[in-house]
């Protein structure tokens, strides 16, 4: 295997008309690192991969793989493997031919590739045998030996995904670019494949950029996660880092799916004037106080925010209780599911949260922090 390579992306701009899909995007990835690019759809994460691969040109900025700039290098000369969301297998070729394609196109001359005259080209027999051997080895690595003579249309989604992965890693690239490769799999298969992908990357040690809009996926398998909004890096960190210390409300919301509670600091200061959130007195803070459902608890009486129950959702061992505060702000608390019967619709109670697991953020533009989180709309 080729030695792992670092990837340095700096100051990339890619504009489509007036819209900037990538706006001064910079990122450094260490050799062998697995980095996820996490962001909502349309934030430019796929464009980033396409620019790194050379499928699109950046308007500004530099990309270095290892110590070399890839400026002016065509996609095939960058030694990058790309796995597409749709897998992009060659539909009229068998899986064996799909796996062999990158090697055939690189290592055989145009005449050597030809089925009729190929035998006459000196040396192509040995190359062909070597390619066949590598196809077998890669197929064995992914457990797809039995599928080699089928066409993509005869495979399930999970099998196609494996073949696409095989085609990517067969030529031992310097860099893996994965564009939502798990998005088209069903939930159970996605979780399993996610783990296998992680193991595989660890074993091969190939530097990997993994694009996803699924925060659970990114958190589960990444060394570091890049949170991206509107073409810009908002925060880079380890999964744990991002989970505990989001830089702003957007990041906190994105990493707290499905729910994040955001309550106006003023409302909290009204009921709990002496409360400190990580040392900062709420009474003197503006903006919103954000906390996760797992750090909230509900009581029949006590010190906290009065609420009215809107509804409850059962989620196995836990349940989510959707409530409305006095000013209409909607919040969610995680409660043990066996207590779900205690909280019928319309019941009043008190909401409390752990101030050491909460954050104070500036109110998002255009609202004073009273607007409920979108995904909490009950």
């Amino acid at each position: 295997m080729t030695a792992s390579q670092s990837l340095d992306v700096s100051g990339i701009v890619r504009a489509f008309g007036p819209a900037r899909a990538l706006d001064d995007f910079s990122l450094s990835v260490a050799p062998g690192e697995f980095v996820s690019i996490l962001g909502p759809s349309g934030c430019g994460k796929s464009t980033l991969l396409r620019v790194v691969a050379g499928l699109e040109d950046a308007d500004a900025g530099t990309i270095r793989i290892g110590d070399r700039s890839v400026r002016g290098l065509r996609p095939k000369d960058r030694q990058i493997a790309f796995v597409f969301q749709s897998y992009a297998l060659y539909p009229h070729m068998t899986c064996r031919q799909n796996l062999a394609a990158p090697l055939v196109m690189r290592e055989l001359s145009p005449f050597g590739r030809n089925r009729l005259v190929g035998r006459l080209v000196p040396g192509s027999g040995a190359v062909r045998r070597a390619i066949a051997e590598r196809v077998e080895r890669t197929a064995a690595l992914l457990g797809i030996e039995a599928l080699l003579d089928r066409r993509p249309s005869q495979l399930s989604g999970g099998q196609r995904q494996r073949v696409a992965l095989g085609r990517a890693l067969i030529r031992e690239p310097r860099l893996f670019l994965l564009d939502e490769p798990l998005a088209n799999l069903d939930a159970a298969l996605r979780n399993r494949t996610r783990g296998e992908l992680h193991d595989l990357q660890r074993r091969l040690g190939t530097t990997t950029l993994f694009v996803t809009h699924d925060q659970a996926e990114a958190m589960a398998i990444s060394d570091r996660v890049v949170v991206m909004f509107a073409g810009r890096v908002r925060q880079i960190g380890t999964p744990d880092d991002l989970y505990r210390n989001p830089v702003d409300l957007d990041v906190a919301r994105f990493l707290s799916q499905p729910h994040l509670n955001a309550v106006g600091a003023a409302l909290i200061a009204n009921t709990l004037p002496s409360l400190r959130v990580r040392g900062t007195p709420v009474a003197r803070a503006g903006g919103v106080v954000a906390f996760r459902p797992e750090h909230a608890r509900v009581m029949e009486a006590g010190r906290g925010l009065p609420f009215t129950v809107r509804r409850a959702e059962h989620a196995g061992s836990d349940a989510h209780l959707f409530v409305a505060l006095r000013d209409g702000t909607r919040c969610v608390a995680r409660i043990p599911s066996e207590t779900i019967a205690d909280w019928p619709r319309g019941r009043h109670g008190i909401l409390a949260f752990d101030p050491e697991a909460a954050w104070i953020f500036p109110a998002p533009e255009g609202d004073a922090g009273h607007a409920p989180h979108l995904s909490v709309v009950a």
């Binding site: 095939k76 969301q85 539909p91 690189r106």
Partner: protein, 275 residues
């Protein structure tokens, strides 16, 4: 009841049209099998006779170089088809998948080209070929047709629906743009290729107009021109049977080919139309 009546009427109409189309062919075959004298005796279809049939076909094959005409036809049609695909497939790919300056204008020009009949550029083409001293050559018969706007249009429509991500994957895997055309697009578009091949071969095998313009020597004649020359030469005067035997032999390869290609032809055209 009225729906049944309508469908019966429709079928009747179709049957009438089919009969009207097939009848000349049936008559051609019947005459080619009948003796000289019986053709004008007044019965709708002259009665066949084995010895007359043998005479007619032997006469057509020996009095004019019919096999030579058919060989010319095969060479010309084959060369036209191969060159047309060699040019139309990359052109259709570029128009469908490669963004470049002026592409919409170029595509509009292709569509416009579909509406220009062969007769319009015929005179300048003739003059050019005559000046080059290429009259009575395969080049004269083939060259004007190697760029097929219909082929470009058909391939463009077919290629347009090919998934872009597969093309990106191919570029990363080391395919050149031409390798993409020959190794990915064309194999995926084989119904279109089959449909185009059928249409092209039929059109050029049957073409009388252009060979009439550029060919006068018997050894360069294509089948329809050869038959026309046969009819005009006086060899066939009174020998309708031999003329029809020539017609049967010239038509047969196309009919046989069409019977085999029919399913692909229809699939290719409906797929292209559906997109």
């Amino acid at each position: 009841m009225s729906r049944r009546l309508a469908s019966a009427l429709g079928n009747l109409l179709l049957i009438a049209a089919a009969v009207a189309t097939v009848l000349p062919f049936v008559y051609m075959i019947a005459v080619s099998l009948a003796a000289q004298g019986t053709v004008y005796e007044g019965s709708l279809l002259p009665s066949p006779s084995l010895s007359a049939a043998r005479d007619n076909y032997a006469f057509a094959l020996t009095q004019v170089p019919l096999l030579r005409y058919m060989l010319n036809g095969a060479v010309v049609c084959g060369a036209i088809l191969v060159l047309q695909v060699l040019i139309a497939a990359p052109a259709g790919y570029a128009l469908a998948k490669l963004p470049f300056f002026g592409r919409p204008v170029l595509f509009a020009a292709v569509v416009l080209g579909l509406m220009i009949p062969m007769q319009v550029p015929a005179i300048p083409l003739y003059v050019a070929i005559a000046h080059l001293g290429l009259l009575n050559s395969y080049t004269a018969l083939v060259a004007p047709f190697v760029v097929s706007v219909f082929g470009i249009f058909l391939f463009r429509q077919f290629f347009a629906s090919y998934p872009d991500e597969v093309l990106d994957a191919a570029r990363l895997d080391g395919f050149s743009e031409f390798a993409i055309v020959w190794r990915l697009m064309l194999p995926a578009a084989w119904p279109a290729v089959a449909a185009f091949a059928t249409i092209s071969v039929i059109a050029h095998w049957n073409d009388l107009y252009w060979p009439l313009v550029v060919v006068t020597r018997a050894d360069m004649m294509t089948p329809p021109l050869g038959l026309a020359a046969f009819r005009a030469s006086g060899e066939s005067v009174g020998n309708v049977g031999a003329l029809m035997a020539g017609g049967v032999m010239v038509t047969a390869p196309l009919v046989v080919g069409f019977v085999f290609a029919q399913r692909h032809l229809i699939r290719g055209l409906t797929l292209a139309a559906g997109k």
